[in-house]
């Protein structure tokens, strides 16, 4: 077949040439309309779902929305509380806190902020759809003294009252009433909830548009009561789920900030001339713990007894795990091995503690003493998309424990399956698990009361104490520490409690605090808050 095919080919060539020319043209014309210098673009792995700040207690959503909504108090870059919508406050007596509200503050729609809005917000945060109910004690009553003074009356003294009040955001009563948004957005609502798509706060940024899961546009609030620390006109947020795409978007300059940068991509972002990685300590502590409650483990070959009820077995596990190797090999140094269950920034006596040394020989000896010279089998529950390199950490643990004869069956699952199994709703169905925790109140009591104090089968007590570790002596100490007025004495009491739970009883194996890894354009300056709240009201762009 030798007849002419040259024509179609030249045609194709022409076509290819033309189309690539066209492509080049489009590309070059569009490069010209480069971004306005004062628009800040950022991408996160997850979406901003509803813009109703009460709808979800998750740090990304709370952090972004606290640029729009403000509380009576707020936290600065060092995590210290400072006045926001309240100019100052005092405790008239331990059961009555008085807040003096800032005058002249306006909501984004121009309404004045007054005591009525605070009272309304107290009611709203307690509506069924709210996920922030725990920010206020259930028995707290708010009393209006005058238009700019509000008293909060308690039934029992609570020194941690305002610890989570940064996100106890103030909604406008008039706006909420006018738009049918008096209740926090709930998924079981039958009418399209207004507050899920519209926001009206007092904060430095105003939401211009919100397309859930696609794009959210903010503009600077020109009438903000405080002096702005940012120099932005506009902020555009896009969720980018795929890590490779997110990194590519940063490298190509389409976005100015991404979170997180996958550990493996850090060198690439660092070596690119216009971008850098801002790594800093995060407050979340990653730890392992055991079922210490059931008479027999659900996921083990040991029958008729629970090996984890023996402190020697727990200590043997502890000493078999080499956290330094996890830090250097798995986390590529983006982790701080931790002796306790709280981050150093939140606990003054952190440095008084030292982890048990890594010692496989000692570990084997302990196992033999406990009656398991050949080790035993147990299932480790692990998420694979929740914490930085979570599954890889678990795999490392599997290998390390194998060296002392313990056979671990790793069950690494996506977070929805994982949490469904291990939390109270799944009947605490775990024998050995990895979990991470950031205390929402940023102090020790939260760690004890959620993770370490006694609970019953239903979860009454410390609901997230999955393994059911229980030492009433420690509980007493923690309860006393909560109401101790002298901070130094209080810290000493918490230190004693950690000593009991982590060193005498070895109820938990704290591993490390993971590091934050933000990918940033070098044109951006922004302080990094260790709770990973992203406050773009602090961003400065060249």
């Amino acid at each position: 077949m030798t007849f002419s095919w040259s024509r179609p080919i030249t045609k194709i060539r022409k076509l290819a040439l033309l189309s690539s020319l066209g492509v080049g043209l489009i590309a070059s014309t569009l490069a010209g309309e480069a971004a306005n210098a004062k628009t800040f673009r950022f991408a996160f792995q997850g979406e901003l779902k509803a813009v109703d700040i009460y709808a979800l207690k998750e740090s990304f959503s709370l952090g972004v929305l606290s640029n729009v909504y403000e509380g009576l108090v707020r936290r600065n870059a060092e995590m210290k509380l400072e006045p926001a919508l309240a100019e100052r406050w005092e405790t008239i007596d331990p059961l009555r806190w008085r807040f003096y509200l800032r005058k002249g503050v306006k909501f984004h729609n121009g309404e004045d902020f007054t005591a009525d809005d605070v009272l309304f917000s107290v009611d709203r945060i307690r509506t069924p759809g709210s996920d922030l109910k725990a920010n206020l004690p259930a028995d707290l009553v708010a009393v209006k003294v005058d238009d700019y003074t509000v008293d909060f009356v308690l039934k029992t003294p609570n020194p941690l009252l305002i610890a989570e009040w940064e996100t106890f955001s103030i909604f406008s009563r008039k706006w909420a009433v006018a738009n049918g948004a008096t209740e926090a957005t709930s998924a079981s609502a039958t009418t399209p909830p207004y507050a899920a798509l519209h926001a009206n706060g007092t904060g430095p940024f105003i939401i211009v548009s919100h397309e859930p899961g696609v794009k959210t546009v903010f503009k600077a609030n020109p009438n903000w009561w405080d002096k702005p620390k940012h120099n932005l006109d506009e902020v555009i947020f896009t969720p980018v789920t795929s890590s490779a795409t997110r990194v590519a978007a940063l490298l190509s300059g389409e976005v100015d900030w991404i979170d997180p940068v996958p550990v493996a991509d850090i060198p690439r972002v660092e070596s690119n001339p216009g971008t850098m990685v801002a790594a800093g300590p995060e407050l979340r502590t990653i730890y392992l713990s055991f079922d210490q409650m059931r008479p027999e483990l659900t996921g083990s070959n040991v029958k008729g007894k629970n090996p984890f009820k023996d402190v020697r077995v727990r200590k043997a596990f502890y000493q078999a795990i080499d956290v330094e190797t996890i830090k250097t090999k798995v986390m590529r140094n983006l982790a701080t091995p931790s002796p306790v269950m709280i981050a150093p920034a939140l606990f003054s006596k952190y440095n008084d503690f030292k982890r048990f040394p890594y010692d496989p020989e000692a570990s084997k000896k302990l196992l033999a003493e406990a009656g398991y010279p050949q080790g035993f089998e147990v299932t480790l529950d692990c998420p694979n998309d929740r914490y930085v390199n979570d599954e890889a950490i678990c795999q490392a643990v599997v290998g390390m424990l194998a060296r002392v004869g313990v056979k671990i069956n790793l069950l690494a699952q996506t977070k929805s399956k994982y949490f469904a199994k291990i939390l109270a709703s799944g009947g605490y169905d775990t024998s050995f698990y990895l979990l991470g925790w950031t205390p929402a109140t940023l102090e020790n009591y939260n760690v004890f009361s959620n993770l370490m104090m006694c609970r019953d089968e239903k979860g009454k007590g410390s609901p997230t104490n999955l393994g059911g570790y229980c030492n009433p002596k420690m509980d007493d100490l923690v309860n006393k520490a909560l109401v101790e007025p002298d901070p130094a004495k209080q810290e000493a009491m918490y230190a004693e409690a950690y000593k009991i739970a982590l060193f005498d009883d070895v109820g938990y194996i704290p591993l490390h605090q993971q590091a934050l890894a933000w990918g940033m354009s070098k044109k951006i300056k922004v302080p990094q808050r260790p709770d990973n709240y992203f406050i773009f009201a602090w961003v400065n762009k060249e």
């Binding site: 095919w5 080919i9 069924p128 996920d131 397309e211 980018v240 929805s416 959620n450």
Partner: protein, 326 residues
């Protein structure tokens, strides 16, 4: 004819009900939606209240029937995550997916057919072999890999096209948003459309090639050649035309899978379409979205098949007689 269509519609309804129930029951095993809706320190009492208000305590069968009952009235419930009606979310995301799929279907035809013709006509030449090799890559490389390669080449290195998103969009009417009318929208479309088109393109190229080779061997082409018709007229007027019938059938049927399987491309390019919404809802155990999307995809396939069947009936008289014989 009418009886045939009615019969097909009846079986379509059964398929949809089956898919709906199956989807709904499967999703019960994806995980606990409540864990994804609240923070980890939300109290057990609050979780229970939420579970009760969502009807998650009812038996799976009751939930599935309730879902189907509502779905029959085009009420797909409220998304657990976005707290908005699912129908609204799907309609919002639909234009992005349809534009992407239609453009890539078009691309795969416009590029795939000439590629097929070229490789058939010059079947032993180097460029035909090159095209064959390229088509092998197109068929065997997974979409997400191609997408990432494109992003690194055209977005990061050359900086020609954006790596994610849909660019600026223009609203047409109440429901439709289009990215085809803005320059940033067009730029954003190119990489994902190419990625999605690549598989179809190579499929069409291979199909055109084999059909062309077949037709070129047939008698009427030999006669045409013997009559001394110019090669161009033989190749394009006679041979290509005769090769295109099966190509169009396949391309039409493939359109359904392009729409349904745009999911991966949408995820790689963060293209805000229904597929992305679906994948995100799987991660978040957002059962109402998952179920509604699957129903939508099933309905689409059923509709496309129905149209194809009817067309066949109109085109091929042999089918008419058999349908009468029933």
């Amino acid at each position: 004819m009418l009886a045939f269509i009615l019969r097909r519609l009846g079986s379509a309804a059964i398929v949809l009900i089956f898919v709906g129930v199956l989807a709904f029951i499967l999703f019960r095993y994806v995980g606990d939606p409540v864990n994804q809706m609240v923070g980890i320190d939300t109290s057990i009492a609050d979780r229970d209240r939420l579970r009760e208000s969502l009807g998650l305590n009812d038996s799976v069968i009751v939930q599935a029937l309730r879902f189907l009952g509502h779905a029959a009235m085009f009420d797909f419930g409220v998304s657990y995550q976005f707290k908005r009606p699912v129908a609204e979310l799907l309609i919002e995301r639909m234009p992005a997916t349809l534009e992407l799929s239609l453009i890539s279907a078009l691309l795969s035809l416009v590029i795939g057919i000439p590629m097929g013709v070229a490789s058939a006509l010059g079947k032993d030449r180097w460029y035909a072999k090159l095209l064959q090799a390229v088509s092998l890559a197109g068929i065997s490389l997974p979409t997400f890999l191609i997408g990432i390669l494109f992003i690194y080449l055209f977005s990061v290195t050359l900086r020609w096209f954006p790596s994610f998103g849909r660019g600026d969009t223009v609203k047409l009417g109440t429901y439709w948003t289009t990215g085809l009318l803005t320059s940033s929208g067009l730029r954003a479309l190119i990489l994902p459309a190419m990625t999605l088109a690549l598989f179809q393109m190579t499929l069409i190229m291979r199909l055109v090639r084999s059909e062309m080779l077949e037709v070129l061997r047939s008698d009427h082409i030999r006669f045409a050649r013997a009559r001394g018709l110019p090669a161009r007229s033989i190749n394009f007027r006679h041979a290509l035309k005769n090769s295109l019938v099966p190509v169009i059938t396949v391309a039409g049927l493939q359109l359904g899978s392009v729409i349904a399987f745009a999911t991966i491309t949408e995820t790689v390019f963060q293209w805000p379409g229904m597929g992305l919404l679906f994948l995100q809802s799987v991660q978040n155990v957002d059962v109402p979205i998952m179920a509604a999307y699957l129903l939508f995809v099933a309905a689409m396939f059923v509709a496309i098949n129905l149209v194809v069947d009817i067309l066949y009936l109109a085109v091929d008289p042999r089918l008419k007689t058999t349908s009468k014989a029933h």
